[in-house]
């Protein structure tokens, strides 16, 4: 905090902007403009500072533009810099005046002093005035050839600025080609780094309407270029290193030697003090080894320690960023971190955003060996002064209880929470006890005796109240005063503001009535009457429905409202494994922090250097993927009342397993056995290791056995790139340009037609054969898909396919267009084979 005196001395933005001050400045500047008196530069400096200080706090000083430009005829570099700053800020709003500055900036671009050349060039390119671009090309061209590296670095970024003002001018001047040659030959590391970032940005934007850009972009990922950068990575500063590492992530290594070479080159980057460098390196390691199970696991072991050091050595903000990534890794591979649980204990002075992350991590890594310690620690937090954290801790204990087999001790702890007599602790605990009972009905006896002692008057939170009411209804036969407690609550119907609680009251009254009719009859009557008069639509409807069902047949009503239930085996995960994989692919980006794939929070043009997302984003799975979450949440919602049978739950899990099955092969689809390993990993990582899911595995394994021999004798002649990328713009352009090289009709097997009720499944299926969907549409019986694929050896050789499937005739019409027409027949065969396998078990 600055001393109060200081704050008075400076105008704060809330003070009215003085018009008179600006006029004052204007006249003073005018006086100085022509003066050559000694010391005039000092007075100019003072005035310039004043102008810039007004500019900073938001006062409009654009009216002194002319005077500023007049005053800038000076050799004083400090003055020049201030003037450049000012001009850069206001030029866009005053294009006419900007013309005034062009002259002196162009002159400065030829100054003897490289410093001035550089600064002038930077200001010139920062004017952002479209009708001045013609003045930029010359100075930029000579800037790129300047013998001073400072000027060259600025010129390179200048090219990018020019591209954003006028792309055509930039391309016509052939600047990208110049940058490319600078990138590969310049001696200065920063010039090279700037070339790389400029080219990446330009080509990514050009890709949609230029094939050349597409090729150039690909060429950045070629082996020589990647090694050119990686071999000299230490010459670059830490920020440029991050840039290079981010590029290396996208490189597809040719073989395992290639992978180990890269990892050896980058090994010492893990010891860097800059967390951004370490995380970028970690990402390279993780992506490279995805198809090598053992090595992948070794990578986890290797990166653990450096990441933990970064967590404890930085500011809380930096720790948070690193911890978010650790969180992702912990959730993916909890067993690797199980012995490190103490690192995730909360420290009392940590900000709550850090504590919350740590609690989630503790929940994830709890297993048989460490549960006791972790739960003991979490119980300490439950008495925390920070109520939000105390609540989270209790929830964490509950989650651990739900995922463990031996919950004996945990249930005791939870029941102890109820004895703490803090309202929020009681509230959280009640919700948990309810979930526990749904999973472990055998505990009902112990829980009920404690819960029965809680006075409903002390519970205000709707969620907790609903939980208590649910238990009263469900276990009415074991809780002697259940009907009376319910009756009491029902009598206060009018005072109950939460519709959720009123809904639960209705259901609980029904359940209680079936178990103890005479005692509940009156209360149920009141509840139904009150419910049918309720303003809330759902409450009204439910009351009316209960009333009618009862009227129809009491036994039917009982079967509907209070059937005997099976225990819930696994609570539905709120995030599909598909989404988790997407987030993992976007490691070291904001996706990890927000725990969402990038398409959920960025518009397409800003997705930045993470083309992974673009690649998948092209396939219209977006609506489906986000829809994935919704049913899961609905599950939870429905669960409150009617429990799903185990079978239904497992169906749900089966889907998630196929979900991971389709992402796995995208790294290596030629090798079925590695595919199976992938499956095994993702299966255990999502902690879906229940007997039921292993049965599913066997199923899939059966497929592996039966199809593998069938495929080996006739290996497809054409190898396709599993990670091919083509954006819709380029696709459209190609589709228009290329002639149809092949038209074919083939039949689709009946299982395939049946599976087509969900068209997404075909897209996934084809993707597992390295054929990617770019657009799809249509309705039964006619479905239309556009696919593309790329030759593995030559990324520039694309195959585009239009596929129309008629589900009533079980026929598919295929039109193929190819860059290399001679191979289109080979491709068509691959395509047909893939299609014919669709729907096969």
């Amino acid at each position: 905090m600055a001393p109060p005196a200081a704050s008075q001395r400076y105008p704060s933005p809330s003070q009215p902007s003085g018009k008179s001050e600006v006029t004052d400045l204007k006249s003073q500047l005018r006086q100085l403009a022509g003066s050559r008196a000694p010391g005039v530069d000092d007075s100019k400096r003072d005035l310039f500072k004043k102008v810039i200080s007004y500019m900073t706090i938001g006062i409009d000083v654009s009216s002194v533009f002319g005077e500023m430009v007049m005053c800038s005829a000076t050799s004083d570099i400090v003055l020049k810099k201030m003037c450049y700053l000012y001009v850069g800020n206001y030029a866009k709003g005053n294009p006419d005046l900007s013309l005034l500055t062009i002259n002196f900036l162009q002159r400065d671009c030829k100054d003897q002093d490289p410093m001035i050349r550089g600064l002038a060039l930077r200001s010139l390119c920062s004017l952002r005035v479209p009708n001045l671009v013609e003045y930029l090309v010359g100075p930029l061209g000579s800037g790129l050839k300047d013998n001073n590296s400072y000027v060259r670095t600025i010129a390179v970024t200048g090219v990018l600025k020019l591209y954003h003002i006028s792309a055509s001018t930039c391309i016509d001047a052939d600047f990208p080609a110049t940058l490319k040659s600078l990138m590969l030959h310049d001696s200065d590391a920063q010039v090279v780094a700037n070339c790389l970032s400029a080219l990446q940005e330009i080509w990514s934007l050009e890709v949609s309407h230029s094939e050349e850009a597409c090729r150039e972009k690909e060429s950045l990922l070629s082996k020589p270029v990647i090694y050119y950068f990686l071999n000299r990575i230490k010459e670059f500063n830490e920020w440029a290193q991050c840039l290079i590492l981010e590029l290396a992530v996208k490189y597809v290594p040719s073989d395992s030697n290639d992978i180990f070479d890269i990892m050896n080159l980058l090994e010492d980057r893990l010891q860097h003090a800059n967390g951004a460098v370490v995380l970028a390196t970690v990402k390279v390691f993780l992506q490279l080894t995805l198809s090598m199970t053992d090595v992948h696991q070794q990578v986890y072991e290797r990166i653990k320690s450096p990441l933990l050091t970064l967590v404890s050595s930085g500011s809380p903000e930096q720790s948070y960023a690193i911890l978010s990534h650790l969180h992702l890794l912990v959730v993916r591979a909890p067993f690797i971190f199980a012995s490190d649980y103490k690192h995730f204990y909360c420290q009392y002075n940590e900000p709550s955003y850090v504590k919350k992350l740590k609690l989630e991590m503790l929940t994830a890594i709890a297993n048989e060996s460490n549960t006791y310690e972790i739960v003991t620690e979490l119980c300490e937090y439950a008495a925390n002064v920070d109520i939000a954290i105390a609540r989270e801790s209790i929830r964490a204990v509950g989650k651990i209880a739900l995922q463990q087999y031996d919950v004996n001790a945990i249930v005791d702890r939870l029941l102890q929470f109820l004895e703490m007599e803090k309202d929020y602790v009681t509230a959280e605990t009640l919700v948990l006890v309810k979930d526990l009972l749904r999973k472990y009905p055998q505990w009902s006896h112990d829980c009920i005796s404690v819960v029965g002692g809680i006075s409903s008057k002390n519970i205000q939170e709707p969620k907790a109240k609903s939980a208590l009411i649910w238990m009263l209804g469900e276990y009415a036969q074991d809780m002697s005063d259940a009907p009376y407690v319910l009756e009491n609550l029902i009598e206060n119907w009018e005072e109950e503001h939460s519709a959720e609680v009123r809904l639960h009251l209705l259901t609980a009254a029904m359940k209680c009535f079936f178990k103890r009719p005479p005692e509940t009859q009156r209360a149920l009557g009141i509840a139904l009457a009150a419910g049918m008069a309720d303003f809330h639509q759902d409450v009204h409807d439910r009351a009316l429905f209960y009333y009618r069902v009862l009227q129809y047949d009491v036994h039917v009503a009982e079967r509907v409202v209070s059937p005997s239930k099976q225990a819930v085996s696994v609570f539905a995960d709120t995030q599909s494994s598909e989404i988790k994989d997407r987030i993992f692919d976007e490691f070291n980006s904001l996706s990890v922090i927000y725990q969402k794939p990038s398409y959920m929070f960025t518009d397409k043009e800003h997705r930045g250097p993470f083309e992974f997302s673009d690649e998948v984003g092209n396939i219209p799975i977006t609506p489906e993927a986000s829809g994935d979450i919704v049913p899961a949440q609905q599950f939870e919602a429905n669960d409150k009342d009617l429990l799903l049978s185990t079978d239904e739950k497992d169906d749900n899990k089966g889907v998630s397993i196929t979900g991971s099955a389709y992402t796995a092969p995208s790294y290596d689809n030629s090798n079925i056995s590695s595919q199976m390993q992938e499956l095994a990993i993702s299966g255990s990582a999502t902690s879906a290791a229940t007997p039921q899911s292993s049965f599913d595995f066997d199923d899939i394994f059966g497929l592996g056995l039966s199809t593998a021999p069938a495929r080996t004798p006739s290996p497809p002649l054409l190898k396709l790139n599993p990670r091919a990328a083509l954006d819709p713009g380029a696709f459209q352009q190609k589709w228009r340009q290329l002639p149809i090289s092949l038209t074919q009709e083939c039949s689709v097997n009946p299982q395939g037609i049946a599976a087509l009720t969900v068209p997404q499944s075909l897209i996934k299926h084809m993707q597992s054969h390295s054929i990617h969907c770019i657009a799809s549409g249509g309705q039964s019986p006619n479905f239309k898909f556009f696919f593309f694929a790329q030759k593995e050896s030559e990324p520039s050789s694309n195959y585009l396919t239009e596929c129309v499937i008629n589900s009533s005739s079980a026929k598919a019409q295929i039109k193929v267009k190819a860059d290399e027409q001679s191979t289109s027949q080979a491709f068509a065969t691959v395509f047909e084979t893939a299609l014919s396998e669709f729907g096969m078990p």
């Binding site: 001393p3 938001g58 952002r128 002075n349 993470f610």
Partner: protein, 443 residues
Amino acid sequence: MMISQFFVLSQRGDNIVFRDYRAEVPKGSTETFFRKVKFWKEDANAEAPPIFNVDGVNYFHVKVVGLYFVATTRVNVSPSLVLELLQRIARVIKDYLGVLNEDSFRKNFVLVYELLDEVIDFGYVQTTSTEVLKSYVFNEPIVIAPARLQPIDPAAIFTQGAKRMPGTAVTKSVVANDPSGRRREEIFVDIIEKISVTFSSSGYILTSEIDGTIQMKSYLSGNPEIRIALNEDLNIGRGGRSVYDYRSSSGSGVILDDCNFHESVRLDSFDSDRTLSLVPPDGEFPVMNYRMTQEFKPPFHVNTLIEEAGRLKAEVIIKIRAEFPSDIIANTITVQMPLPNFTSRASFELEPGAAGQKSDFKETNKMLEWSLKKASVESFPRSFMVSNITKEAGPVSMTFTIPMYNVSKLQVKYLQIAKKSSSYNPYRWVRYVTQANSYVARI
């Protein structure tokens, strides 16, 4: 990378500097940011996380000396990179201004703009090296005399900021000339250790960790090479064993779990003789960060006893025992203990003859505070009594600073400056300090 804007806001939300690099984020981002941070949730306790997204714009911020350093972007960037960058910008500015606060910022904003223009161009980071920047930056800093700072006690320089201490000791600019015209040749090496210990209610240690940094600030002319020798019995990593395996004896030297190094550090002979060599760049930077969970002797032992003395009354006895050599003095010690919400009154009894001690019950947040100006081994144990509480109090937490003492026993054996002239003998300062990070005793 690609940052759209960078700005610094005061605690009141005023713009101190504002730079727009790419004109992609709509106007008013500073207000949007400040409102969001100030009113993160209805729950006043929850702090805004360092990264959040409002209407497609990602806001990153770090808090340094009470100021918000903020970057915005629309691109899905690496979060670590941006946060690291913000922290680094703060350090570069501090290197130039000597003292980093709102006042020095406002006095030098033109210089700060000059720096910002060279650090980031069109959203891409160019350099954050104070050394490299020196040749591009021409404004001279207007240095705020340290005397104009609020009077601070000697340890306060180590207690600002939450985790990493900012500028350790030196508050002079790397570029400003001394009034005398000559620069003093000197180099500072600080070994700063933050310790976290959790004692169980029965007084044994549940977890303990040391997070250490060797921090350097060099004012040497001509960039000579420097060699730093650490303990010869220093070991890094504990093989495949769990890092929390306490069975390893503490007699076998200093064992670090892990460490990382500044990019200027060369480790050619580190494996053989534990020396680091480097050409220190200008400005302040961490040479090495390390982490240690090896068992160590905590400087203070905390013991708390609660006894219910009647239905509405309880007695708390807090005993603290210092366990470091008697020539070492700890200062700015505070002991805190949250009391139950319904506590109405607390009374204290300090040991007779306790000078320079203060105890207080903060009614608003029901917090009991006991502070000691300084303490050496003789002035312990201390205890005091509080009445009128029952269960659900605690835990007791403690903050302190112990200059010239470090618990890990990591040492700088020598600091060698390679320079030919024999008469060249700059000042070398090697200093140690230990600080509490999370020092907690449960009840």
